[in-house]
């Protein structure tokens, strides 16, 4: 293994992101020339995988769309089987700033999961209305569950330690919001340490935000379900499910 000092793997889940994936990879390379990257093409039907290959990066192509949870779990398995010590999840739409990755990884010295939060002070990311209340409620309850102040529980910008990877390898929810909300509950119950650090979030290079308008209420209901099911799972399920 030639890069034992760089044991971090950047995992980029991508579903039909041909418009932005190229630019994201270029930017990651510029900021982190020494970090390994793998793109998980989550059943993409566009040129996502081809662009990644063309740029010379690894791509793992899921033949069926599994959702972010499934894509990330594939990334976790890949990381563990190839001897990486930690994983950073980065979105393919360009809203996460790759120059912040070292900060997230550094914080792993004291934690198993480090969340890049959009609301913890830096940047001007803001939401309104029911979505704000929903996210507020989630933050409040997950802060209690994880014993640490969390302001942005649905952030997709995260770093995970080896311990977190082992917990999640066989047990990472594929449900809607399962990879964020429910995963944090599982983490807390598996006694993983969760921390968050403030990050600046930028505009997406392409694509629509995953939720807006009237869907907020449905989003709230589903978030609550994810939360309660995470809490209701038998404790054994937080280890080696499936």
């Amino acid at each position: 293994m030639g890069s034992s000092l760089q044991p971090t793997l950047i995992v980029i889940p991508a579903f039909n992101e041909e418009e932005s994936i190229g630019a994201v990879l270029t930017e990651v390379r510029r900021h982190l020339p020494d970090t390994d990257i793998v793109v998980i093409s989550d059943g993409s039907m566009d040129a996502t995988a081809a662009i990644v290959r063309q740029q010379g990066y690894r791509v793992i192509e899921l033949p069926i769309n599994l959702g972010v949870g499934g894509a990330m779990r594939t990334g976790f398995k890949f990381a563990l089987r190839n001897g990486y010590q930690s994983v950073v999840q980065l979105d393919a739409d360009g809203q996460h700033d790759p120059s912040l990755v070292p900060q997230l990884v550094k914080e792993l010295d004291q934690a198993d999961i480090v969340i890049g939060s959009r609301f913890a002070g830096v940047g001007d990311y803001a939401v309104r209305g029911p979505r704000k209340w929903a996210m507020g409620f989630l933050s409040w309850s997950l802060s209690k569950i994880c014993h640490t102040p969390l302001t942005d529980t649905t952030s997709g910008f995260k770093a995970l330690s080896l311990k977190a990877l082992t917990v999640f390898e066989n047990n990472y929810p594929a449900e809607y919001l399962g990879d964020t909300v429910e995963a944090l509950v599982i983490a807390a119950r598996a006694k993983l340490i969760v921390r968050e650090i403030p990050v600046t979030m930028r505009k997406r290079l392409a694509g629509q935000p995953s939720h807006n308008g009237l869907r907020s209420m449905i989003q709230l209901a589903r978030a609550l379900m994810a939360l309660f099911f995470g809490l209701m799972r038998p404790i054994d399920a937080t280890r080696g499910l499936s």
């Binding site: 069926i64 599994l66 890949f78």
Partner: protein, 139 residues
């Protein structure tokens, strides 16, 4: 009850049973799924041949109108079947997810071994792919 109604009832019960058994014979229905259909079919057969049994059981259970008992039982069995199916779909989805992940990982590994170092994690760097560790697989 006319003889015609009597015979129709028995015929329907027999059709159900024969269909289920035929499907099992041809491997289109596994025993664990067939059991409820068989139980239901046999019950219908008994009740159609001896309608008095339904009236007797209804009387014992205090159900005023015997047909209500049969409808209640039918709904109960169907609801349980639906629940069983939902649960099996869930378990299939879970297995499918694991298989999908494994297939994708294998495909990537195959690509990497076919193209040598060309698809390492970073472009322009040769042979930086970490050695593949053997890990024991559960599940």
């Amino acid at each position: 009850m006319s003889l015609w109604t009597y015979l129709t009832g028995i015929l329907v019960a027999l059709v159900i049973l024969v269909t289920v058994v035929q499907m099992m014979r041809h491997g289109r229905l596994r025993e664990r799924h067939a059991i409820w259909w068989l139980v239901g079919g046999v019950l219908i057969l008994i009740v159609t041949i001896f309608p008095a049994t339904l009236e007797f059981v209804a009387g014992v259970l205090g159900v005023a109108i015997p047909i209500n008992l049969s409808l209640f039982l039918a709904v109960g069995v169907l609801a349980l079947l639906a629940l069983q199916h939902s649960s099996e779909i869930t378990s299939h989805e879970k297995k499918l997810r694991v298989l999908t992940e494994e297939v994708a990982l294998l495909k990537q590994r195959l690509e990497e071994s076919n193209t040598g170092a060309a698809s390492a994690g970073r472009p322009g760097r040769v042979g930086r792919t970490p050695a593949v560790k053997k890990t024991s697989r559960r599940s």
